[in-house]
């Protein structure tokens, strides 16, 4: 026995030496760590068990009218249970977050995934799936898509939406909805400026053809301000916070965000400078947009544009329903006073643009029965259920068959905006996109605040991205 013993630490006649204690404790910690590693393995994924199976799902708006993201999963359980023939009964426990923040929702899922308490199904933006693939928080669905291709409306999903769900050749999500981000305009204010009804109603077509380009929009906004139709800085309101909309003006000027061949992030310096210049001119030179736009409270934005105080403003298609639900604007009043069009091309004759952000249902690695979870999603992907969601929340169709759905066909707003998907672009699926976005967004704010010029912003932003994401960025 060692001479260096702990007095009073005898157990069953055995005295534990300090060294033995450290070795034992160390071994226990190492064993625990190893067991954690083993515990990361994907679940076995038993196919269809007998009895009741509880499936959990998390969904989010944050816009209040998007509750069918949750409800459609619950409805799909009935469809699935009929197909399962009675031996297995699926019960769905789904949540819907309204009014919250995307960042908080994603953080909650990440922490739950590590704690092995994540739900079976998670609703997220397509680009959110990229960082979740590395640690296997979500599972690839290609085999299940192949096996259940005739389930629900999977075969009718618009092909470009499947592309947005892929990372390195594998599919990690099933499209839940999509939208476009139009440039809204006030018809009543244009009329006050002397525009004829035909000219006002023909504006979306003029934008589509490239006849009404960005310089025309700026000139119109300046004219509205000079005539006192709108107040200073109220010719155009862009998005007030982070989001995919910001990149419409980068794409408008020839920007590229991801390299198809390598999957790396891309920044095109010339396009980025033009994107910053659009905002710098709007705020500082032409003064068609208030400097207070950056970080403005979303409620103030909505209230101001719905009060008819701003000529042009950016928002997603879903806001059409949100304005009616939250701000109690009658549908016909909106139609009478508000129009929508693509983001005009940078120059006359160019191609207009918009950005879409398809959401996806994904099956998590925590799902005990991934096949059942996937089949539930497949059964929630039908023209009937998706159209209910579309008309309630003003999100666009994800199934080619929805255009024939009686519910969808009755919604003239959806029919009038569906064409925008032909002009749409996506943000990239990349695990470091959040870092790239953070840098570009901060410099956008700096340009609008006059802290740096667009040219300085581009040089500094590119250097900063390179220093933060290393060789994951291609600069053109």
């Amino acid at each position: 026995m060692s001479k260096h013993t702990f007095a009073g630490r005898e157990a069953g006649g055995y005295r534990l030496s300090r060294r033995q204690f450290l070795i034992t404790t160390g071994a226990a910690i190492a064993a625990a760590a190893c067991s954690t590693q083993v515990g990361q393995q994907s679940p076995s994924g038993a196919a269809v068990p007998a009895g009741t199976v509880n499936l959990s799902a998390w969904t989010i708006g944050p816009d209040a009218p998007s509750y069918y993201r949750r409800d459609n999963l619950v409805s799909a359980a009935d469809l699935l249970n009929k197909k399962l023939g009675g031996q297995t009964q699926v019960h769905v426990d789904a949540t819907f977050e309204s009014g919250g923040q995307w960042g908080d929702y994603l953080q909650k899922f990440t922490l739950a995934a590590e704690a092995k308490t994540s739900p079976d199904i998670i609703l997220a933006g397509h680009e959110n799936l990229a960082p979740w693939v590395g640690p296997s928080y979500v599972i690839p669905l290609d085999d299940l898509i192949k096996k259940f291709q005739s389930e629900g409306g999977l075969k009718d999903v618009i092909p470009t939406l499947w592309d947005a769900m892929k990372l390195k050749g594998k599919t990690y999500g099933v499209p839940q909805d999509t939208e476009a981000r139009p440039m809204y305009y006030r018809k009543d204010l244009l009329a006050k400026m002397g525009w004829s009804k035909d000219k006002i109603d023909g504006l979306p077509d003029a934008v589509k053809k490239g006849d009404f380009a960005w310089p025309d929009l700026v000139a119109t906004a300046k004219e509205a301000i000079s005539k006192g139709i709108v107040g200073p800085g109220m010719g155009w309101y862009s998005r007030t916070s982070k989001g995919a909309d910001i990149y419409m003006f980068y794409y408008q000027n020839g920007g590229v965000m991801q390299d198809d061949a390598t999957g790396k992030l891309v920044v095109v310096k010339d396009a980025l400078q033009k994107h910053y210049q659009v905002h710098a001119d709007a705020v500082r030179n032409d003064k068609i947009m208030t400097q207070a736009i950056y970080g403005m409270d979303g409620k103030i934005f909505d209230q101001t544009v719905m009060d008819g105080k701003v000529l042009f403003f950016n928002a997603g298609t879903w806001k059409w329903k949100d304005w009616q639900t939250t701000y109690k604007i009658v549908d016909q009043v909106l139609w009478d006073n508000v129009g929508f069009m693509l983001i005009p091309a940078a120059q006359k004759g160019g191609k207009p643009v918009t950005v879409s952000h398809p959401l996806a249902y994904a099956v998590t690695s925590n799902a005990k029965y991934p096949e059942l979870a996937f089949r539930l999603i497949a059964n929630a992907t039908t023209p009937e259920l998706n159209s209910k969601h579309s008309v309630t929340s003003a999100h666009l169709a994800i199934l080619s068959t929805q255009k024939d759905d009686p519910t969808y066909k009755q919604d003239k707003f959806l029919l009038a905006t569906q064409y925008m998907l032909d002009y749409t672009r996506f943000i990239p699926n990349h695990a470091k996109f959040g870092i790239y976005d953070d840098v570009l967004y901060r410099f956008l704010g700096a340009v609008e605040q006059g802290q740096v010029t667009p040219a300085q912003a581009v040089d500094s932003a590119v250097k900063e991205i390179q220093s933060q994401v290393g060789d994951e960025i291609i600069v053109k």
Binding site: K3, H4, T5, F6, A7, G8, T36, Q37, Q40, W102, G103, L106, Q107, F109, T110, A113, E114, A124, G125, E127, N128, A130, P131, W132, V133, G134, P135, S136, Y137, K242, G243, T290, Q291, A292, Y294, G295, M296, D297, I300, A431, K432, F433, G434, I435, D437, D438, R442, F443, G445, A446, V447, E448, Q449, Q451, V452, S460, K463, E464, S467, Q468
Partner: protein, 319 residues
């Protein structure tokens, strides 16, 4: 002549004697030491260890790797680390000055008026502290909202001040005021109790000698509450270094290029708050590790500067 000789005990008996002698002390200190170990030492060790990995959302706990000092190199490669460091010192220094000066002012004023009125006045100043942080910050964002909204705009416009989006046009003013109004109440409470503990005789004697109010404050009150002032200074400095919640809820570190981003907020943004969910835990841990080192350094400096040894030394005369 008697000679005291050292008694040489065998090593095993020495250890046994040591344990017997210290067992009671260890028994009493044990729970506190365990808490310190689990909640103070272990997180610091984990933070430092984590900072040498690439742990992020994209790796999870299963795919991380050791990457050496890369996170620290990356941090100092950023163009903004110096700006953020400067912001941190400005934030701590100015809010600290506000807290101590305003807290002291309120304490002095409220103890020199009628007791009930003084109590009511202090209660009003406690409102920001007892309000939930998010509610308090939300009220500020509404008060400082962009024109034509915002209570501040309504108040200042009649005086010829152009309405503005205060959070964006004067972000530091908002950051200092929102933190200052909360922090001042802490100093106010400490200073009030310290002033009330001063024997009344000293004030009466000074009045008999014809001392003015300012003289009384300068020659009696302030010297006798020196230690509470130093305590508030040191404690608030450390608190401010680690705090970011009100900045996060109002300016969120902006506008633009890290205008009001402090080091702790930078670490939070990096490790736990990304719009697209790309959380960089290890990189954020490296930032937090630097913050720990800064805190330790400043603690040592302040404790030496303010002669902490004297503060905790036994009194020279029995009281």
């Amino acid at each position: 002549m008697a000679r005291i000789e050292e008694i040489a005990l065998p090593r095993e008996r020495q250890a046994t004697a040591w344990w017997r002698f210290n067992a009671t002390a260890l028994l009493f200190l044990g729970p506190a030491m365990a808490l310190v170990l689990v909640f103070f030492i272990a997180p610091v060790v984990i933070t430092f260890v984590m900072s040498f990995t690439d742990l992020a959302t994209s790796t999870g706990l299963s795919n991380w790797q050791w990457i050496g000092p890369e996170n620290y190199q990356r941090m100092f490669r950023s163009q903004f680390w110096l700006t953020i460091l400067g912001n941190t010192f400005v934030y701590v220094a100015v809010v600290l000055a506000f807290n101590v000066i305003v807290g002291l002012g309120i304490a002095l004023l409220s103890v020199h008026v009628e007791a009930k009125a003084g109590g009511l006045f202090r209660s009003l100043w406690l409102l920001p502290r007892i309000s939930p942080s998010v509610v308090y910050a939300l009220m500020w964002t509404w008060a400082a909202a962009s024109p034509p909204f915002g209570m501040i705009n309504y108040v200042v416009e009649p005086f010829g001040v152009e309405p503005r989006y205060w959070i964006q046009s004067d972000p530091w003013l908002i950051v200092i005021l929102i933190n200052g109004f909360v922090g001042a109440s802490f100093g106010m409470l400490i200073f009030t109790s310290a002033i009330k503990a001063i024997p009344e005789d000293l004030f009466r004697a000074a009045q008999v000698d014809g001392a003015s109010a300012l003289h009384v404050i300068r020659r009696i009150t302030l010297p006798l509450i020196k230690w509470p002032i130093l305590f508030v200074l040191v404690y608030q400095t450390m608190s401010l270094f680690a705090s970011y919640e009100y900045i996060y809820l109002t300016t969120n570190g902006g506008p633009g290029l890290y205008a009001t981003e402090t080091w702790s907020l930078w670490a939070f943004h990096t490790a736990l708050s990304n719009y697209y969910g790309n959380l960089d835990f290890a990189y954020g841990a490296a930032m937090a590790a630097i913050l720990v080192l800064m805190g330790l350094g400043i603690s040592v400096v302040m404790l030496r500067l303010f002669r902490f040894g004297q503060l905790v030394a036994e009194p020279r005369v029995e009281v």
